[in-house]
Amino acid sequence: MDIVHINAEFFLELFLHSLSLWWVIIPSIFLGLIVGAIPGFSAANTIIILLPFTLVMDVEVGLVFMVALYCASRMGAGIPAILVNIPGTAGAAATPLDGYPMVKKGLGQQALAISFTASTLGGLLTTVIALVSMPILARVGFHMHSAEMVVVMLFGISLIATIAAKDTLKGLIAGFFGLMIGSIGADHVYATPRGTMDFLELYDGIPLIPALVGLFAISEAFLVIEGESILSKHAQDNLVTGSWQQTFQGVRMTFRKWWHVTWTSLIGLVIGVTPGAGAAIAAFVAYQQSRAFSKTPELYGTGHPEGLIAPEAANNGVTAGTLIPLLVLGIPGGATAAIMLVVMQYQGVNTGPRLFMEQPELGYGIFMAMFTTYLLMALTILPMSRYMSRVTLVSTTYMSPLIIGFTLVGSFVPREYMFDMYLAFAFGILGYIARKTGYHVAAILIGVILGPLMERYMLVALQKADGSFTALFSTPLTNILWGALVLSLLLPLFVKHRQRRRESVFAEGEG
């Protein structure tokens, strides 16, 4: 690719120019945070609603608006996920696994600070990497075929096994039940309806938002009425008397885990580059890998900062990744990227290599706008974490009806079917029973989200090889990924075994 004037001075100029667009970026950040936090809304459908405005804007302003909204919505989805166990989007589904338990300990402010800092650092880092290695990263998508994607999905699904480690049989039942529920809908080849109970609304499969809000939020609303507040008395005191110290601690803790942020956000970047993959897969894979290689895996799920950093850094790493195939190859990797493509085509802007040759200021400028958005997000949102965390002090008398009303409305929004509200309620009851009887709702949800994706990729891979399962081991990259998967599952067991042996030797020595 012949790129002219690409040097440090060029990037500095672009950075200063994107800073001058603060008047677009800051309102877009706040709008993005709001739509990200509302279940059912997303950057994609907000941009569609505001498409007429985007089309009449100057092309650069329009793109900066969309990029800022997109990045902020990713961060926004994490706020209700942490504070009240409502993930705004599927990308934030792994966030409450450790974020919400932190809130219950009265560490809401710290959890939000960790989430914002990890999101910002993950976003900044992956944007810089995307800027300097775009042509190489763009090729990743070409090597990720259906067989490779099956293994990537298995990385996420293997989180079920990790969760099941606490109670094997129950964990596996929950996970496989989720996978079965995720199989509802017409099959991908002959459109045969499967397990739809004659509901036409289920032919496209289980809609994600009702499943997400039902399993997490509605079940939570039915549970928390056992107490006056979602926080214990001690946690309430912690929150009320807490100073800015918790925010600073959260920021410091995340910076100290810089290596953790780096590699989990890189998982997000690589998954983001792959068309069809998304933030939900990235977040689950990052969480699973983070736990597998952690020195303290037993703390995951109890409010462990590492368990919050991993999904937040990863799902913000996806944002830069999604834009790479769009800009470098002209292939949109997701819904938001597809809408951006429409706007660019309407404005007569070429995507693909010509963009970087003919309008490098615009091509690189989009990534620089993303970089600036993350910087401005850190400055504007981080100070708000102290006040946002106060939401958890609201009595459950008011909180539970608000959660139910808000999430049922959110489950109606994407498809505008009353059926989806009933479905969210049904998932709420299922989630309630699961929680009260010791089954992990996250295991069910992982199955519901990743099951249909894995089935689709597996069918394509098998069809290419006339139904032979050898297709799943047919390329060097697939085999490397299989090796990494096995390693990531066995390594923690090996480390645990060695640790136990060392402890027993030490105990014998003491004796």
Binding site: K170, G405, L430, K436
Partner: protein, 168 residues
């Protein structure tokens, strides 16, 4: 296997059987819908369904052994306790179902208000009715403003939505 009961009491395993039984019934139903379908439609049913059936049967066998050995009973206290909250919880669930059933007749905004107000009164034992009323009005007004007027989502229409339509 973790117990949901205190270690001193007999484990009440009845509630823990609900999810496996639901999973088993659904899997058998799912298999029945794909039995005559092409292999591509059956892939999940047999790959995942067969494993799930084995897991469920293993859990049922485990539960039966625990009950027969007197270490557990088929009670449901794990699911239903604490009992003093139960009427309130069931009432709240019934109000939620009512919210969904009545919405097509009363319209989105009015039903949202009634649900919020009634739920807050129920959960707060009738305390602070004015606060509940104001909170319910505020929530219904925000929902109307954001979802119906601003984003034009097609929620069921009632008196308030028609009134807004006439006025705008």
């Amino acid at each position: 296997m973790a117990s949901t009961q205190n270690s001193g009491e007999k484990r009440q395993i009845g509630g823990e059987l609900i999810i496996p039984v639901l999973a088993l019934i659904f899997t058998l139903y799912y298999i029945s819908t794909v039995i005559d379908s092409p292999w591509s439609a059956q892939l999940n049913a047999f790959l995942i369904g067969s494993v799930l059936i084995v897991l469920v049967l293993a859990f049922i066998a485990y539960a039966a052994r625990e009950v027969l050995m007197g270490r557990a009973s088929l009670g449901m206290s794990g699911l239903l306790a604490p009992y003093h909250i139960l009427p309130r919880r069931l009432g709240f669930m019934a109000l939620t179902v009512g919210y969904l059933v009545v919405m097509p007749w009363l319209g989105f905004t009015l039903t949202t208000f009634v649900f919020m107000f009634a739920s807050m009164l129920l959960l707060g034992d009738g305390r602070r009715p004015l606060v509940c009323f104001v909170a319910a009005v505020a929530m219904a007004a925000i929902a109307l403003g954001v979802f119906v007027i601003l984003f034009e989502k097609r929620f069921p229409k009632g008196v308030i939505e028609h009134l807004v339509q006439v006025l705008s």
